[in-house]
């Protein structure tokens, strides 16, 4: 497992943000880890541990105060096309139909959408299970369906890397479980390097190859856990002893006091 080639590398990354009153907050401190090619990495931690900062660093939306974030051994100095992002809220555009939302990144970047692009968008809608909804208005869709549209939108430019910032945390519990399995299916059909941010322990264990457990304020890597559960994973995975043992272990990690 350790022989995998890394796609994303964090090396001693420190991130501080200036506040309006002049003081600084350290969001991340000495963060070092790699993400391998087509690896599914979950980042788990309480609120305020800088999880979303990790995502924004990879996306090139912000740059580290110290250390480097690199993709394919190149330091990230600007936003990159080969990254798809799915946010906690679907944030679809109400003035476009579903297909228009999926093709929006192309329209936004190049100003036009070709017939071939639309065909590709339809394929993606089929992939996320929304073939029949291409011309629906987005406010006619449920929250889970809207998030499927957001996933299709993130996949439009065929990115190598998929960044997901608590994508299912705004959904109800049943839809959330369903979306987890859907994501695994989509990921097996379109392998991507995935960074998946969550604060749900079962979700992280079910989905990920590895889990990074973070500490809060400042965010540090507390533990990196290999999830050696067989794939493909299914509902049966949830009742495996190894699944529960791992979840319990992480729970113990998160709920003991941090010794600095």
């Amino acid at each position: 497992m350790n022989e995998r080639t890394h796609v994303i590398r964090f090396a001693n990354v420190e991130q501080t943000f200036g506040r309006d009153d002049g003081s600084a907050v350290t969001a991340l401190e000495e963060v070092t880890f790699d993400i391998g090619r087509h690896e599914f990495l979950a980042v788990l931690g309480p609120s305020g541990c800088g999880k979303s900062t990790l995502l924004r660093l990879i996306a090139g939306l912000i740059f580290p105060t110290r250390g480097t974030v690199s993709i394919y051994n190149m330091a990230v100095t600007e936003p990159r096309d080969e990254i798809g992002i799915v946010f906690q809220r679907p944030t679809l555009l109400p003035w476009f139909d579903v297909l228009g939302n999926v093709t929006f990144p192309l329209r936004h970047k190049y100003g036009r959408v070709s017939a071939a692009d639309k065909a590709r968008a339809r394929d993606l809608l089929a992939l996320v299970g929304l073939s029949d909804f291409a011309s629906k208005r987005v406010d006619e869709l449920s929250g889970g369906m809207q998030q499927r549209v957001a996933i299709a939108r993130a996949l439009l430019l065929d990115p190598d890397i998929l960044l997901m910032d608590e994508p299912f945390s705004a959904l109800d519990a049943l839809t959330r479980d369903e979306m987890g399995f859907e994501l695994l299916r989509i990921w097996s059909e379109r392998p991507k390097t995935v960074l998946f941010i969550t604060h749900s322990i079962p979700e992280a264990v079910l989905l990920a190859d590895r889990i990074i457990v973070m500490t809060p304020r400042p965010g540090r890597v507390r533990e990196v856990i290999d999830v050696n559960l067989a794939r493909p994973r299914s509902i049966a995975t949830l009742s495996e002893p190894a699944f529960n043992a791992l979840a319990n272990h992480i729970r113990g990690q998160l709920f003991t006091r941090v010794v600095a």
Binding site: A59, L61, I83, T91, P94, W95, R107, H108, D139
Partner: protein, 291 residues
Amino acid sequence: MPSPTISAVSSSPASSPEAKTQIDAANSAGKPGRPGVWRTWADRLAPAAAFIVLICVWEGACRLFRIPSYLLPAPSAIVIAGLNVTPAQWVGNIGATLRVALMGYVVAIAVSIPLAVALVSSRLLSRTLYPMIVIVQSTPIVAIAPIIVVTLGASDLPRVFITFLITFFPIVVSTVTGLMATPEELIELSRSLRAGRVREMLHIRLPFAVPFIFSALKISTTLAVIGAVVAEFVAAERGLGFFIMFSTSFFKIPQAFAGLAVLVALSLVLFRLCSLAQRWFVPWSLPKSER
């Protein structure tokens, strides 16, 4: 400001027909076949009926208590006074007010929306211009209207400018609010695509501001009419504002009321047209119940 109440009245019958049908179904169980037809009609006619009752009470009170027409003319007296004014006079006065109001309104839109975009795009501009805009808004326009007329001379220009001053502020404020209300995630998405600030504004921020802009445009239709009338009070030889002033100064109070009624009707029509434009061009910007 009459517009919010007007909008509530005019939109409520359209907004909840489903809810009413359910109530009807419950209430008219004894009338199979066409449940709720009577209720639906009652619902539609209720605003008009209330208005008619009000007019009747007004008319009755004027006759019963012999209120002199220079204090409060009866509705019938107002209608008669209105009919005594020649159609050509009406058309001339309405046309003059409408022209000033619409020109001021269009100028206000043309200035306000780009100004709002500039305010949102640049922190420096925002810090420099916003206080000035607030100062202009805080100045009682009625008080400086005579000065504006002196400065800009006797033409439509001062009247359009006064209308503009009264109209532009809500549009600026609402547009800025709308542009700032864009979800942060979409801005990040735009930046991650390196689409550029212009596309970010055109493809994301401005469309997101449309519901806010239309709220302001609706309010501003009535403000534009008010602006035109204020300008006509100060300096005009035509227009509904002038007509009301003129009628009052000759103690033709019923005629002044007729002018007022036409003015209200004009505001209502403009407000309605603006609502229809929104429903026609950008239906997604309306709440689901009002589409």
